[in-house]
């Protein structure tokens, strides 16, 4: 979230799209209700299904799964055509005025620089055009230059008329226009609107670009950085934000630093590539905060290797593992299944073992049968879990998963009992970026151990082996510091201290070198004190400030809110720097006056910025720095020449496309999205599989856990798996409420009872009728007796987004049949 849960109460318009927060985030959703009740806010829900979120919204509009970009672009065009965008904001806080180079173009569904063979773009073709004399960005403040971002955007969205939106999305034109009118009512200083989204946007082959389109709309409406505004991603687990911050995926180190690649041989080369430089040298320039990258990286290396890390040895950069390609879990699965890895040009054997820590890949899929087959080829599998999940029990999967005879599977499975969130101390980082401490409620049962004890015991055993036996690069492991009071089971309070960072030598005040701002050994007050000379260590620069000299701020619970806007600065700690609204400089105009004085984010009082913790330097006067401090441009990007699939989003159909792309039939799907080629990676054809299908979660269940509850209340209130089938479709096929149906995709086929509903209706796509159905994900073969069910991910495709490799769970093709009644 750029803002936070509580801030939603400050919105005049709440657009929920690609999410179903009433069902998936019922506790946070109270703030949307609060906005409705106290501000008379309008709540709009745009979704393929009419859900419990739609039930309490002021306006619901259906759309075909996977067509969100077209819908959002329709609104952007509407805002531009009707001048319902916040012009002063756009001029002050976005790159609308930046001139783009002549090499950029867009034709027939492709941007310039497309390499057909590699299915990649040459992104340098999309670069801005710097002034040849001064080498600075060229801008046209009048927004009239034909190659300024504003004009290029106008041209790009020309095609997305309300009629086209209706043809692509299936949303009736009048309904689309109603939504557009309400959403663009916030395109001014007086009103603010928020967008809440979740996995309904991320889990598409165009996921990142859908979110970008939403962000562009919010920038045009002037809603980023303002109380009541923002792009608010609702995270799917209690701590998924924390997991991502702490390097939850292969391509990042803690704090979103880049995992080094093999070709970046030394730290200097790595830092040169990673640290952005800005061409913005005029007034209103950028803090370009990532220019501090070396400080973050060196401090991380110091936190990892301690005294062994020195200036002479590049702070131990050599010991960091380097990648030679894509190691996302989808690719790891592919390697396991094929038994080989072809990264870095060579052919290497695939992995022989797999450690799955708090993850259930067979359950969460996609394409569960491929996962079962992949795990069946391993020598060993280590599962660290609270319950025996589908992955732990993959060798017991029913026949339809393609399981071989268990006796033929060589994989030795170890299930290490872990403890649940309530059975250990630690912290959660929620969607609002709050790092909140939690205390253990009960002891773990039986032999279950805490995560940190399991990790520590594995680490210490591996380190002992390297110490005894050596190896190719033992220093990589033996030099890692492990200075915990109890090295076998570190106290997480100590770990958080390490993440925050401390001074290793006295740190001097840059303004007055005679003054020492931090003495050696003291906890740092925040990332502003980090150094690139080895005098500081920090496990994650972004979290720095959570554990200063004053103590563990994640434990704070002081409910004071002097502004009444819901900042609650003394409740837990919100990264970065306890800031509650990111980019909050954009909540004020060029002179530092808040757009809406009743809802100020930060205000310039003549000496410094007050209100929320300011994003920019607190004493930098208005006009000195742009609001978007993490971007070299210093302003928000309506045009982003950085993503893998285009500087502007474009409507592409899902990988399993139910129709040709109406805008450019030759380029139907995202040309740079990724999919696999093994015999298990099958993609269906719309003739055989004519129905659009989507997957989702239910309020009553938590992922794949609830099914393990014995005599649990939650299994009582939502007893089992089902398919949601539109009433008219059910009538056509002779299916009644509760009757069993069979749904099949190119990957697999599953059966269950039908919930026949009026809440999904027939879509008219370019005049042709089309059906959508849906199914919840919470069941599998590993649940408690009476609570097993089919895995939704038997059906989902291993097709991925081009930037994050997130699978396309939300749009794929299936066929529907009536099944024989189950004989019990």
């Amino acid at each position: 979230m750029t803002n936070g849960w509580i801030d939603i109460k400050n919105a005049d318009v709440v657009l929920i799209m690609g999410g179903n927060s009433a069902e998936a985030h019922p506790c946070g959703f109270k703030w949307a209700i609060e906005a409705k009740k106290t501000r008379n806010a309008k709540l709009i829900h745009v979704d393929p299904r009419y859900t419990r979120t739609s039930a309490v919204s002021d306006l619901y509009a259906p759309l075909r799964a996977g067509t969100d970009i077209a819908f959002l672009y329709g609104m952007i065009k509407y805002a531009l055509d009707k001048k319902r965008f916040h012009e002063d904001y756009v001029k002050a806080h976005t790159n609308a005025s930046f001139i783009v180079g002549e090499k950029y173009n867009f034709k027939e569904g492709l941007f310039s620089g497309f390499d057909e063979a590699k299915k990649e773009y040459d992104k340098t073709q999309w670069a801005y055009e710097p002034d040849p004399k001064t080498n600075t960005y060229q801008v046209d403040p009048t927004l009239q230059h034909p190659r300024c971002v504003f004009q290029l955007l106008k041209k790009h969205v020309e095609r997305y008329t309300p009629e086209t939106v209706e043809k692509i999305c299936g949303t009736p034109k009048e309904q689309f226009l109603k939504v557009a009118e309400i959403v663009t009512s916030t395109g001014n200083a007086e009103r603010a609107g928020t967008i809440m989204y979740a996995l309904g946007w991320t889990q598409h082959s165009t996921g990142v670009q859908i979110i970008r389109t939403g962000a562009m709309l919010q920038l045009l409406l002037g809603n980023i950085g303002r109380p009541g505004g923002g792009m608010n991603a609702l995270r799917g687990h209690s701590n998924i934000q924390g997991a991502t911050d702490m390097a939850g995926t292969f391509e990042i180190l803690p704090g979103y630093l880049a995992t080094p690649r093999g070709e970046l041989k030394d730290l200097t080369t790595y830092l040169e590539k990673a640290t952005p430089t800005t061409l913005n040298k005029q007034a209103w320039s950028s803090m370009n905060y990532w220019s501090n990258y070396p400080k973050f990286m060196v401090s991380l290396l110091k936190a990892t290797y301690g005294k062994a890390s020195t200036k002479e040895n590049d702070w131990g950069y050599e010991w960091l593992p380097k990648t030679d390609g894509n190691y996302s879990w989808m690719y790891i699965c592919d390697d396991m299944y094929r038994g080989s890895s072809t990264r870095a040009g060579g052919k290497e054997p695939g992995p022989e073992g797999f450690i799955s820590f708090g993850m259930n890949p067979v359950g969460i899929g996609p394409n569960s049968p491929k996962w079962v087959a992949a795990l069946s080829k391993l020598k060993w599998l280590v599962m660290v879990e609270n319950v025996e999940t589908e992955t732990a029990a993959f060798w017991k999967a029913p026949k339809e998963y393609g399981t071989s005879d268990a006796a033929q599977i060589p994989t030795e499975v170890y299930l290490l009992p872990a403890s649940s969130f309530a059975e250990k101390d630690g912290c959660f980082t929620n969607s609002a970026r709050w790092i909140q401490w939690k205390w253990k409620a009960i002891d773990p049962p039986g032999l279950a151990k805490t995560d940190q004890e399991i990790v520590s015991r594995i680490f210490l055993a591996v380190r002992d082996l390297y110490k005894k036996e050596g190896g190719a690069l033992p220093e990589q492991v033996t030099n890692v510091i492990w200075n915990y009071t109890n090295p076998v089971n570190p106290d997480l309070d100590e770990v958080l201290k390490e993440i925050n960072g401390k001074a290793l030598a006295d740190i001097k005040d840059p303004k007055d070198p005679t003054k020492i701002i931090k003495a050696a050994g003291q906890q740092l007050e925040g990332f502003g004190q980090l150094q690139d000379d080895g005098s500081t260590m920090c496990g994650n620069w972004l979290h720095s400030g959570v554990y200063p000299a004053a103590g563990n701020l994640a434990k704070r619970r002081n409910p004071v809110d002097p502004t009444g806007l819901g900042f609650f600065h003394e409740w837990a700690f919100s990264w970065p720097a306890n800031r509650r609204i990111m980019y909050n400089r954009a909540s004020a105009d060029a002179q530092g006056h808040p757009w809406d004085p009743s809802r100020p984010g930060i205000v310039w009082n003549g000496e410094k910025w007050v209100g929320d913790v300011p994003d920019i330097k607190p004493d930098s006067p208005p006009g000195q720095y742009g609001a978007f401090i993490m971007l070299p441009e210093g302003v928000g990007r309506l045009y982003a020449p950085a993503l893998n699939d285009g500087p502007f989003p474009e409507h592409y159909e899902a990988i399993e496309a139910p129709v040709d792309n109406l805008l450019h039939a030759k380029v139907t799907s995202n040309p740079v999205s990724r999919k696999f080629t093994t015999d298990k990676d099958k993609y269906g054809d719309r003739k055989e599989y004519p129905i659009v299908c989507t997957t989702y979660r239910l309020t009553e269940h938590f992922h794949y856990w609830t099914q393990h509850q014995v005599n649990g209340r939650l299994n009582e209130v939502q007893p089992g798996f089902f398919f949601e089938i539109p009433e008219q479709l059910a009538k056509e096929r002779g299916i009644k409420d509760g009757e069993r149906v069979r749904v099949s995709s190119a990957r697999g086929s599953i059966e269950g009872p039908a919930v026949v509903t009026k809440r999904i209706s027939q879509m008219k796509i370019d005049g042709q009728p089309m059906w959508q159905i849906g199914l919840p994900i919470h069941w599998g073969y590993a649940g408690a007796k009476g609570h097993v069910g089919p895995l939704a991910n038997m059906l989902t495709p291993s097709a991925m987004d081009a930037n994050t490799w997130t699978p396309e769970y939300k749009t794929f093709l299936v066929k529907l049949e009536k099944a024989a009644e189950k004989v019990s």
């Binding site: 019922p26 009740k37 009757e739």
Partner: protein, 295 residues
Amino acid sequence: MNSPGLQIRRSSAQMWGGGSGQRKMPVVSKYIDTSTCIGCKACEVACQEWNDLGNVRTVQVGSYQTVPTLHADLWNLIKFNEQTLPDGGFAWLMRKDQCMHCADPGCLKACPAPGAIVQYENGIVDVNPEACIGCKMCETGCPFDVPRYAARTDKMAKCTLCVDRVDVGLEPACVKACPTGCLHFGTKDDMLALADSRVEQLRANGFAQASVYNPKGVGGTSVVTVLSHGDHPEWYGLPKDPHVPTGVRFWKNVLRPVGVIAFAAAFFAMVGHYLTFGPKKPKEGGEKSRGEGPV
């Protein structure tokens, strides 16, 4: 009896309540705003947990609703209804179904067991399992189809408005658990005022027929419900104009007083008989009274 500390205003099969009338208490009420209910069922689970109710075996038969109607082990049920609106629009309506705690409770009127159903001074209608004989007469008296017979205990069961919590100054468990704040608890006057203001807001936002459901036919209820489509309470599974059934009313208001008079007449006749003819001699061995034999 869940709350022996509260004074009783009215009691089943008795002419008078148990209170002295000296301690006045405001009538309490639960507020349900159906327009902000997200049907998450946290209230269902909280109710079962607090009241220590058994598990209900459920199966998916085509709905998000836990069970078709209230159950002896599920006193709080979100009723889901997919409603096509007259203007062609659509609404997925969710309402928390439970005992309405009528000011004029039909269950209490219909109950033949003295003290089995009571109404406390604060308006809460409660079943006293000590006195309940499990005869199911209260079912016939209830215009909302609420009381359920629990075979496990051979007693009637229904929402108590968490009188045990209310008695010590807490809100009912469902209110505590509600994540969106569509449930509130307080004095009936306060809850009605809250409901009126919400209705006003709904009317200003396109729900011209929004209203508060607090039906006169049962003297009003201690559950105040805000309905966006107030002209169609039946869409929410609520009767349009609920009344205590005439038969029950006749029993309570006419037959029972007549019965009391008849009983008194018989009693005096008996006293007269005793005075005139002397005591009756018991038979040898005698009959065992109920309850002494092996169960």
